[in-house]
């Protein structure tokens, strides 16, 4: 099959269309804008809806309304825009509306810059809005996964009735790789809860205001039960040369591919080092780290941030093994500097 050379943003947009996304609501922001542009070019011709909203707040609330009708819908933005969407995401989580939210992330805080970053990790995994909620967060590492995760994201969203976020560094949105374009999804799951007109049945009500304290608690317990299920079933990580490793590097997204280069370089230098790449950022794949903690003497978290995922690794291993951190922001750490960090640890530990 002939491959197509796609930008990450284009692949993600095409993946969403293949998954049956009926409507896109968004407001452009670098480095995510190509998603909106791709949708604007394609959706009207397919009889679907592309709408440039007047703001990010409007866009996320349009997602709320359209998702309530049972259609597959999405929005995309970058850090500052995702911050604006947080109220809406909290509402989507409580109303249990399946939806896809994409963060092609750039460096903050504030307006920050438009260079790639992973510093929205806390916001994505802790739930940046109010209340006790989580969303599923997927971190693709290449352009093919931008397409595949968009499709899987909609499936997970429908299955668990939960907003799903795809978070990718700006570079992954902008860079091109050859990929296989998947087959379109034709069979979508039924959504008996959706507000589709109540002729002949009881009305479906989608609402997040619960004034009865008992009912509010019941809703929260229901959500927590669902999150526990998702944690048990959906946490996903990839491991590379971890079995005999003394040191395990952890990195997600595009960063994990750069880190893998460094791991291979360090192996050549005789260091027993491996890699864990969390594929889901929430739920965090704790098991992969707990299993590795049985035999490694150190973890090294490499991030395009000032250190965020490193906290989840520390929580996962709960003090059994020290977890170090190396990160930059504005610039992506290159394989050589990660290798230097690995060698530094190797010297401290007396492996070389």
């Amino acid at each position: 099959m002939t491959k197509v050379l796609m930008k990450g943003n284009e692949a993600l947009a095409e993946g969403a269309l293949l998954a049956g996304c009926r409507a896109f609501f968004g407001y452009p922001i670098t480095p995510s804008s190509e998603i909106a542009e791709y949708m604007a070019r394609k959706m009207p011709k397919m009889g679907r809806t592309f709408l440039q909203a007047e703001s990010e707040l409007a866009a996320i609330n349009m997602v709320y309304g359209a998702a309530a009708t049972g259609n597959r819908v999405m929005t995309a933005s970058s850090g500052p825009g995702i911050s604006l969407k947080q109220e809406g995401i909290s509402f989507l989580a409580e109303a249990e509306l399946p939806s896809l939210i994409v963060n092609i992330s750039r460096g903050g805080p504030g307006l920050g810059g438009i260079q790639p970053a992973q510093s929205d990790y806390f916001q994505a995994t802790r739930g940046g809005g109010h209340g006790d909620y989580h969303i599923i967060v997927l971190a693709p590492s290449g352009v093919q996964e931008m397409m595949d995760f968009a499709m899987q994201g909609f499936d997970l969203a429908d299955h668990y009735r939960i907003p799903v976020m795809i978070m990718a560094e700006g570079t992954l949105g902008q860079m091109m790789e050859p990929i296989i374009v998947r087959e379109p999804v034709t069979d979508l799951p039924p959504k008996p809860w959706a507000t589709t007109g109540c002729k002949g049945r009881k009305p479906n009500i989608i609402n997040t205001l619960h004034l009865s304290p008992e009912f509010l608690e019941e809703r929260n317990l229901h959500l927590q039960h669902k999150y526990k299920l998702i944690q048990e079933r959906e946490a996903k990580a990839e491991t590379f040369m971890v079995e005999d490793a003394d040191l395990v590097v952890a990195a997600f997204g595009l960063m994990s591919r750069i880190a893998k280069r460094a791991v291979m370089d360090a192996r050549q230098k005789g260091i027993k080092v491996g890699l864990i790449r969390p594929v889901t950022l929430w739920p965090f794949p704790e098991k992969a780290f707990q299993e590795a903690a049985e035999h490694v003497s150190k973890f090294l978290s490499v991030e395009i941030s000032m250190g965020q995922m490193v906290e989840d690794i520390r929580l996962a291993v709960n003090g059994r093994v020290p977890v170090e951190f190396y990160g930059r922001i504005g610039l992506i750490p290159n394989p050589e500097e990660i290798t230097r960090q690995i060698m530094k640890i190797a010297q401290q530990e007396g492996w070389v």
């Binding site: 491959k3 050379l5 796609m6 260079q115 902008q174 050859p178 591919r257 280069r261």
Partner: protein, 223 residues
């Protein structure tokens, strides 16, 4: 007043790599070679990231001023109009799609004073929106309407990044030839990565031009 070569086409068709290569390999004939980086969409993978290489080949770079080079605002280099009206060999790398056309439309009346003005349509048929004649024609019309200039030729740039093979180039180029016939435009060059040049030279002769890759991070190549 010297030639102008404008590299236009869809996002990711290869404009920046081509502009860099044409600038560096330019036969200056005693004139200044000026590369204008007019990609005002965003500063990911743009000519201005290769200043050292350009300097080494005595190519003058016109780009958004240093302080603004990572700015997220549409901006053109301040000396652009001066360079367009000077004696030089000017290469222009515009933004993708019709956004690039807007800039050419703005320069339209100054460009008329120059000869020749080569407005190249860069096509990589493995890109989205370059896979059928309908999409190509739509892109061409959008660009020409904004630029107020017709394309004068096509540069065929078929590749699949690290997964490129000689056959990928051959069948992609065949596709571009079909577009060229339908658009009634001449294919001026078939551009290929350096390592395919010797192998394909006997087949394509002087149409073939060897391209060095500048904007791809080393850690992506040979992944």
């Amino acid at each position: 007043m010297g030639s102008i070569n404008i590299f236009a086409g869809g996002y990711g068709s290869g404009k920046t790599e081509l502009a860099l290569n044409f600038a560096i390999n330019s036969d200056s004939q005693g004139q200044d070679v000026v590369l204008a980086d007019l990609d005002l969409v965003n500063p990911y993978f743009v000519s201005r990231q290769n200043q050292t290489e350009l300097k080494a080949h005595h190519v003058k770079l016109l780009a958004p001023s240093l302080k603004l080079s990572f700015g997220d605002v549409p901006q053109l280099p301040p000396k652009l109009l001066a360079e367009v009206q000077r004696e030089n060999q000017l290469l222009i790398d515009v933004a993708g799609d019709d956004t690039g056309g807007l800039v050419i439309g703005y320069l339209h009346r100054y460009l008329q004073q120059r000869d020749p003005v080569n407005l190249w349509l860069v096509i990589n048929p493995y890109r989205p929106f370059a896979q059928n004649l309908y999409d190509i024609k739509e892109s061409v019309k959008q660009f020409e309407d904004a630029a107020r200039l017709p394309f004068t030729g096509i540069i065929s740039n078929p590749h699949l990044a690290e997964e490129t093979t000689a056959d990928v180039i051959r069948s992609g180029h065949q596709q571009v030839l079909e577009y060229a016939e339908a658009l009634q435009l001449k294919v001026g060059y078939l551009t290929v990565r350096e390592d395919f040049y010797e192998q394909l030279k006997p087949e394509y002769g002087s149409l073939l031009k060897s391209i060095k890759i500048f904007t791809r991070p080393a850690w992506l190549q040979g992944d």
